[in-house]
């Protein structure tokens, strides 16, 4: 009800504004007409937050409509219904699938004010000049195209970006330290018979296979050329190990949505599982101990960005660029970083965080006072340190990026078999 009233009121306001604009000279028109623009954004629940839409309305004046879907649905929609959205908030591995369809348009980096401040991971792949590039679909490999209208990927910073990076993180296993009662150091623990019937894995094939590969490699069973691009033989061997574990009753359940993973963990059905960072937060905010356990083999990382629909043009396109520039200018970054994600331009986000928050989330320092997320939940007490430490420590230990393989179709079939086994 309140929503309806709000929209009617804003409609009246914009109507009056349009009237005023038509009576006034040119420069005003842009400022007024932008209020009539509505950009339709869809993406995974991670960054499709209503708070962002509200802030856009406040700061930029136009309306952002958000639709949150799961990653399969996001891929589908981006690949098959280009006219159903203006802005796609997708992950880099999804971009690898979707970009060649031509449904997204290349973005001119000269129009991105903070382009030079974007973290190296998204530009040349290197966090620091001497870091090695992790396996999988590293964002910079699908981050650039040859020019406007391009449907290819180029290795160098061509000035035309496929996605503007917005959010990323390093994923690992989540554990219930109170129910395990001993240190966990390796991905191999997921298949440890000690946790028989108490382990879980996510059932999104493209990500699940990577977690499975991290586990098999940690067990010393398989050496992968590239975990993000396995050969059919590597896929077979990985799935054989996982199937055997499944038949032996290792897994309690598989999960597909964020909520499922939270419920599995907080109900104690599962004590060790692949998990996403905000899910850990959700479990913790219920007063249940849960650790995002750093593991010696490293992290499986993911990154998301926003892409523009190829049908976007004119003033709506200008508004979209304005939105992107606003996105990188710090407020959203701070908002996301206070939930445990990273922003593509951390230095702009710093101004939107307290020194305590910046120290805890980014620098890996002890919290000096309680850390709360933007929604007011207390996530850490004074004296606690973030699991995994600082930005460099966490993002510097990425073993593999979420990816889509050349043998994707084969992998999907094998994954289906595994789930059906």
């Amino acid at each position: 009800m309140t929503k309806m009233r709000y929209s009617r009121r804003s409609l009246l306001k914009t109507g009056a504004a349009a009237l005023a604009a038509s009576a006034l000279p040119a420069p005003m028109i842009w400022a007024q007409e932008i209020k009539d623009i509505t950009l339709r954004q869809f993406g995974t629940g991670v960054s499709n937050l209503n708070e962002v839409a509200q802030k856009v309305k406040e700061d930029l004046g136009f309306t952002l409509e958000m639709t949150a879907l799961d990653s399969d649905a996001v891929t589908q929609r981006a690949a098959t219904q280009p006219d159903s959205f203006d802005i796609a908030d997708i992950e880099y591995w999804i971009a690898k699938k979707v970009w060649p369809t031509g449904n997204l348009q290349a973005m001119d980096t000269s129009k991105i004010a903070n382009y030079d401040k974007i973290v190296g991971i998204f530009r040349n792949g290197k966090l620091t000049p001497d870091s090695t590039i992790a396996q999988g679909t590293a964002p910079h490999t699908v981050g650039f195209t040859s020019g406007p209208g391009g449907t290819d990927f180029v290795a160098e910073e061509s000035g035309w970006m496929t996605l503007i990076p917005t959010i990323y993180n390093a994923d690992t296993l989540g554990i219930r330290p109170d129910l395990i009662g001993r240190p966990i150091e390796s991905w191999a623990e997921l298949l440890n018979p000690e946790f028989k019937g108490k382990a879980s894995l996510l059932d999104i094939s493209s990500i699940g296979i990577m977690d499975a590969a991290m586990v098999c490699e940690a067990m010393g069973e398989i050496q992968y050329g590239d975990k993000g691009n396995m050969t059919t033989d590597e896929i077979d061997r990985t799935m054989a190990i996982m199937t055997e574990a499944k038949r032996a009753g290792q897994f309690r359940s598989f999960w597909k949505t964020f909520d499922e993973s939270v419920n599995l963990m907080s109900s104690g059905e599962v004590v060790i599982q692949s998990m996403w960072s905000p899910a850990i937060t959700a479990v913790k905010s219920r007063g249940i101990p849960c650790v995002y356990q750093p593991l010696k083999e490293g992290y499986r990382s993911w990154g998301g960005g926003i892409g523009l629909s190829s049908s976007l043009d004119g003033m709506a396109l200008d508004a979209a660029y304005e939105y992107i520039n606003w996105y990188l200018s710090g407020w959203v970054g701070g908002f996301l970083m206070r939930q445990g994600y990273y922003s593509a331009v951390p230095e702009t986000s710093k101004t939107f965080m307290t020194a305590n928050e910046w120290g805890y989330w980014f620098e890996g320092k002890q919290a000096v006072e309680p850390i709360t997320n933007p929604f007011g939940d207390v996530l850490a007490q004074a004296g606690e340190v973030r699991d995994g430490g600082s930005f460099e420590e966490r993002m510097g230990k990425v073993a593999c990026w979420n990816s889509v393989m050349d043998e994707n179709q084969y992998m999907v079939r094998k994954w289906n078999e595994f789930i059906a086994a």
């Binding site: 879980s200 059932d203 309690r252 109900s267 104690g268 059905e269 079939r413 289906n416 789930i419 059906a420």
Partner: protein
């Protein structure tokens, strides 16, 4: 079934003597034309929303797919993979298992409940009241009804804590949740009413004098039940069976949630394919499921001629 109704109408044709008179009254008055016109709206709806989509699914099942696009083609690849993979057969078997077990339980439950309602509850007010009571769970969505089992059956759920505190078990029972048990439990919970309603309906139409006659002829209660009530309720049982079997065979969400994604049925295979943009492969699986389900229903209909019995 429009053609059927027309042929029935035809069989009641008036004698030829009257015929010339009627033809003179023009085409619109002809019973054939009226019959067709009456059947047309339903035929159009069925054509647009049932026949055409199925044709589309069959056509797409011969196409091929790449990562992000589907390519019109005529290829047997989807079927080759589907029929050549032992996973398909295992999953079909699993689907059949769910269907048969769920059917067996719901038919016993449904028959008992309907029998009680129809023959033991004498007042019609009570009958209606109790029947409505059966439908109360349907006031919420079936996903809610299903998911509400999860906290109940979990390792630290109500069932386990109750059993533990009564001393019946020493360790929580794992198989209560995320197992075939929980899947079938949810199916039975969700679909028993589909069995109760048609059985109750046919039972209400059984002529009570038949039961009196059986009594008078010296039949015991069980004999009456077995030789009189049961044969007369067959159409109801069959309709309920068709409901339950098709619902269970086509389900994907119950199996996913209640088995914790650990078990698969055909619906899950299709869902996974769709999620991964493999529409042709999903179509091929759908066609297979459709054929299997139609075969099952075909066999059921051979056992009982529903139309004759209704």
């Amino acid at each position: 079934m429009p053609p059927e109704s027309i042929s029935i109408a035809g069989s009641f044709e008036t004698p030829p003597l009257v015929r010339p008179q009627r033809t003179r009254r023009g085409h619109l008055a002809s019973r054939h034309v009226t019959g067709w016109l009456l059947a047309a709206p339903l035929a159009v709806v069925l054509l647009a929303f049932l026949v055409l989509p199925i044709i589309m699914i069959v056509v797409v099942s011969f196409w091929t797919a790449t990562e992000f696009s589907i390519v019109p083609a005529f290829s047997w690849e989807n079927y080759e993979f589907l029929l050549g993979s032992d996973v398909t057969w295992r999953v079909l078997l699993n689907t059949a298992k769910y269907a048969v077990v769920t059917w067996a339980i719901t038919v016993v439950l449904g028959f008992t409940v309907a029998y009680f309602l129809a023959f033991h509850v004498r007042s019609q007010t009570w009958q209606t009241a109790l029947f409505l009571l059966c439908t109360i769970p349907f006031w919420t969505s079936n996903i809610i009804r299903m998911i509400s089992w999860i906290p109940f059956l979990g390792r630290e759920g109500l069932a386990n804590s109750a059993l533990l505190s009564w001393g019946v078990i020493d360790e929580p029972l794992d198989w209560l949740l995320f197992s075939d048990f929980s899947v079938i439990l949810a199916f039975v919970h969700l679909y028993t009413l589909f069995m109760v309603v048609p059985i109750f309906n046919t039972m209400m139409r059984i002529d009570r004098t038949l039961i009196e006659a059986a009594n008078d002829a010296g039949a015991s209660g069980f004999q009456t039940l077995w030789n009189v009530v049961l044969p007369l309720t067959r159409p109801g049982i069959m309709i309920g069976t068709i409901f339950v079997i098709t619902l269970v065979m086509g389900d994907f969400i119950t199996v996913r949630f209640m088995s914790g994604s650990q078990s698969a049925n055909v619906g899950r295979l299709i869902q996974n394919d769709i999620g991964l943009l493999q529409y042709p492969s999903a179509s091929a699986t759908s066609v297979l499921l459709l054929i299997v389900t139609l075969m099952v229903i075909g066999i059921l209909l051979r056992l009982v001629d529903i139309r004759k019995e209704l």
